[in-house]
C-alpha cells in the first residue's frame, strides 16, 4: 500500500517534468527534462520489480539506464555545433 503511494508520487513527478519538456524554450531544456523522466522511469521499473517480486524488471532497468545515458550524450554532441533553436 505504501509502495503504491510512492509509485503515484513518482508518476506525479514525471508529469511535472513533462510540462517542462513540452514548453521548454530551447532544445537543452527539453533534453534536461527528458533525462529526468528517464531516471524516474528507471526508478519506477525497480519499484515494479519489488511490487511483483520479479527480478526480470531489473535487467530492463539496467538496459534502459544505459540507453538513456547514451542518448543524452549523443544529443548533446549533436547540439554542440548548432546555433540556438527552439
Amino acid at each position: 500500500m505504501i509502495l503504491l503511494g510512492i509509485m503515484i508520487v513518482v508518476f506525479g513527478a514525471v508529469l511535472i517534468c513533462a510540462i517542462r519538456a513540452a514548453l521548454g524554450p530551447t532544445a537543452p531544456d527539453r533534453v534536461v527534462a527528458v533525462d529526468a523522466i528517464g531516471a524516474l522511469m528507471v526508478a519506477s521499473l525497480v519499484l515494479l520489480g519489488v511490487y511483483y517480486k520479479a527480478s526480470i524488471y531489473l535487467d530492463v532497468a539496467l538496459v534502459y539506464a544505459f540507453l538513456a545515458f547514451l542518448g543524452t550524450l549523443a544529443i548533446s554532441k549533436y547540439l554542440e555545433g548548432r546555433g540556438v533553436e527552439t
Partner: protein, 112 residues
C-alpha cells in the same frame, strides 16, 4: 527494523523527486534546471533504487539494484556536464541576474 530503513529511504526519494521536478519547471535558466535535474536523479531515483533494493529482501535482487544505483550515480554527472557544455557552446543565454561566466572569459568560442 530493516523495512523501516527502506521505507524512510523511499520517502526521501519520492520527496526529492517531487521537489526536483518542481525545480525543473520553475527555475529560470538551462543551467539552473541542470541543477534541479541532478536533484531528481541522485536524490530521487538513486534513493528509490537503494530503498527498494533493501525492501526486496537481502538477495541477488539487492545486489542488482545497488549496481543500477551505482551506474546512475556515476553517469549522471557526465551527462549533466555534456548538456551544460553543449548549451553554452550553442549560445544559450544565461539568466539576466547571473553573476559570473568563467567559461566565456576562458574560451573564445563561447558566444553568450
Amino acid at each position: 527494523m530493516i523495512e523501516l530503513v527502506a521505507y524512510v529511504l523511499l520517502g526521501i526519494g519520492s520527496a526529492c523527486a517531487l521537489i526536483g521536478a518542481m525545480g525543473i519547471v520553475r527555475f529560470p535558466d538551462v543551467y539552473n534546471r541542470i541543477h534541479a535535474n541532478t536533484v531528481v536523479v541522485v536524490g530521487g531515483a538513486m534513493m528509490l533504487m537503494i530503498g527498494s533494493g533493501i525492501l526486496g529482501g537481502l538477495s541477488v535482487f539487492t545486489l542488482k539494484a545497488l549496481i543500477i544505483a551505482l551506474f546512475v550515480f556515476l553517469t549522471n554527472p557526465v551527462s549533466a556536464h555534456a548538456i551544460a557544455r553543449a548549451a553554452h557552446k550553442s549560445g544559450v543565454k544565461l539568466w539576466q541576474r547571473s553573476v559570473v561566466d568563467k567559461l566565456k572569459e576562458e574560451k573564445p568560442w563561447s558566444k553568450p
